[in-house]
Symmetry: C2
Subunit: 213 residues, 2 copies
DNA sequence: TGTACATCAGTGAACGCGCGTTCACTGATGTAC
DNA sequence: TGTACATCAGTGAACGCGCGTTCACTGATGTAC
């Protein structure tokens, strides 16, 4: 675990250690039972230490969400970089990265997109969230530039994002268990996941049409 | 507000009053600050009363989620009944009802699809959730029977549901603000909402295809 | 190289608070006779 | 119609607990001279 070296007064990197501890607390106990004291306990420091770095629990959670967005951005960028030059292939890769991130970072994913009512959140959270959104937006813009040059990117982005986000959300909340094959989440990369990306691709189609029967 | 008649010892319908109070508490303070005592306070009864009906906070929230699912089922069925006989039109109507429910019952929607880790939840919650899912499933089955008789309903359902659910989720978490026109949520019924249903319709298409550029 | 001092990170005891839970109770309702 | 009794819904005082916050402190680090 991430605990403080026993023989040192100063931790050295307590902020990072607390974030790691906080992520574990979030995953095990959920937002409802997320407490600063438990985070401090896991990091092996006094219970007053977290306030030094994050102020209160809301500030701590905001920083955790920012960590999540940074990780999501990295995951999407890595997939995109490995997808070759074709814009649509890159968009698909990003979608896969998005879903994979949600599955592997369930607790973080759940708090990242929660509107906190205050509207703004922390500056760092806004930066990290904006960067992740930028990856999506840029990818969609490139696809449209290549295939539908006259089309505005934001509406198509909203639809494609909705499809991928909804799939990821339902997946980690175990709502799709009845719809998945016996392979479960393992099948995603080839099976339902592929169909999902096809659906996302249809977000590029502007005019409403009813498929032939 | 829903408060107990001052001159009576027995409330008469405390369970319903508590559920209404609990919904308000959930909407105003969020799951993290949801407490039985605050619910009791709003219903105007002693703080020990809620335990009599719901056991603990988790049981209370489960009943609230069940109320949400019942309300969602009703909303979807009403829309479907007003949509005429064509299965695809009914599916679209259900999608609209789903999104409208999320917008109008934000707090409930947020807790309804949270997997609680225990797997089962309360019997009433399972019943209510199953009924809502049944509406979706039956609607999709009718569409496929009419237009794609050889196709299994569950995969298409997972995709269509993902699209609608993701759209509803991002919408109420204010993540789509940048993508919506100046009309905001008001435009949904005609504008982006229509495109959303078109996208959902594409969930019926089985084979992966790349749209012509 | 050494000394003095400011700054900062983390401590730990103390506090007040709101919570869930318990439990003996009280008031109302329904039923048997 | 009246009486006795069981059942049930809700009360309210009491309790222990874990929490966030405060605050004087201590130990370490960095900088000026």
């Amino acid at each position: 675990m991430t605990s403080k070296p026993a023989d040192r007064y100063h931790h050295g990197d307590l902020r990072e250690a607390l974030l790691a501890a906080g992520e574990a607390v979030l995953a095990e106990r959920g937002v409802e039972d997320f407490t600063l004291r438990e985070c401090a306990r896991r990091a092996g420091v006094s219970h007053a230490a977290p306030a030094h770095h994050f102020g209160d629990a809301a500030g701590f959670l905001a920083e955790l969400a920012a960590v999540g967005f940074d990780r999501l951005t990295t995951a999407m960028e890595e997939r995109r970089a490995g997808a070759g030059p074709e814009p649509l292939a890159q968009l698909h890769a990003i979608g896969r990265g998005y879903i994979a991130f949600a599955v592997r970072n369930r607790a973080l994913f759940q708090i990242m997109f929660r509107h906190d009512g205050t509207g703004v959140g922390s500056a760092n959270l806004q930066r990290a969230g904006g960067a992740a959104f930028g990856v999506l937006q840029a990818a969609m813009a490139r696809v449209l530039a290549a295939h539908r040059p006259a089309q505005a990117p934001l509406p198509s982005l909203a639809l494609a994002w909705s499809a991928v986000h909804g799939f990821a959300t339902l997946l980690i909340e175990r709502q799709l268990d009845a719809c998945l094959g016996q392979g479960g989440i393992q099948d995603l990369e080839t099976d339902l996941g592929g169909a999902m990306l096809t659906l996302m691709t249809h977000a590029l189609a502007a005019p409403p049409t009813i498929p032939a029967g």
